[in-house]
Symmetry: C2
Subunit: 131 residues, 2 copies
């Protein structure tokens, strides 16, 4: 069984060096969403945090040798599912970013850790515990 | 352009009524992961929180009429990307669960909001802010 995904947009920024993970990123940029999804963007508000799911489009194909990898901040290999390695069985990334502005189908955000031109698969507003 | 995903395992539980969202769920069950990914599960620990990406395998196909939907706890329609609606352009769900036990390729967790037999696409350990 397989599931086919299609990008809903892409990430645009001009930082040459993005941090390895969103929790330590101040990089600003734009989530450019396809015009056909415009109505789906309503109610996204400045200050909100968004879960962004994206395609690791520059990663090599996954194989057994990537099941254990050494994350940059750790001193030994870890199982891939204990990490946010960009080389995974399904090449989906997850970042949490803060909304700075919304203008039509462009969402200006802060906290990017994706490469410029990364295809976006989904956006979900972050849910506060208990809600 | 499209991206093809393959499940790495599935969710198993016997609750007939799962809560609408993980933040209010105490449902326990098992993430049953394919044996070929066993090494990738190392370093997942009891007490840890995991981001689980999964396929909304029972959802109808997305179309324009689902761009704005009324979430159960809100009083009017919202854009799909402001919600965790199971009917989305790319049918990927995100839940955060707590690890209760790990035994081989079975991870016992608490906080499930997926249907029994939901295909799992990815697991990532949750990252604490600043790490």
């Amino acid at each position: 069984m397989s599931v086919e995904m299609h990008p809903i947009g892409y990430v645009r920024h001009d930082s040459e060096d993005v941090p390895r993970i969103y929790t330590i990123s101040d990089v600003e940029g734009i989530l450019v969403i396809d015009q056909k999804y415009a109505a789906g963007l309503s109610d996204i508000e400045v200050g909100q945090r968004l879960n962004v799911l994206f395609h690791f489009h520059k990663s090599p194909e996954f194989s057994e040798k990537y099941l254990k990898i050494k994350p940059p901040t750790r001193d030994r290999k870890h199982g891939v599912f204990s990490t946010h390695s960009p080389i995974r069985p399904n090449p989906i990334g997850l970042s949490v970013v803060e909304v700075l502005a919304v203008e039509g189908c462009q969402i200006k955000v802060k906290g990017l850790d994706m490469l410029n031109e990364t295809p976006i698969l989904d956006i979900k507003s972050e849910i506060r515990p208990g809600h």
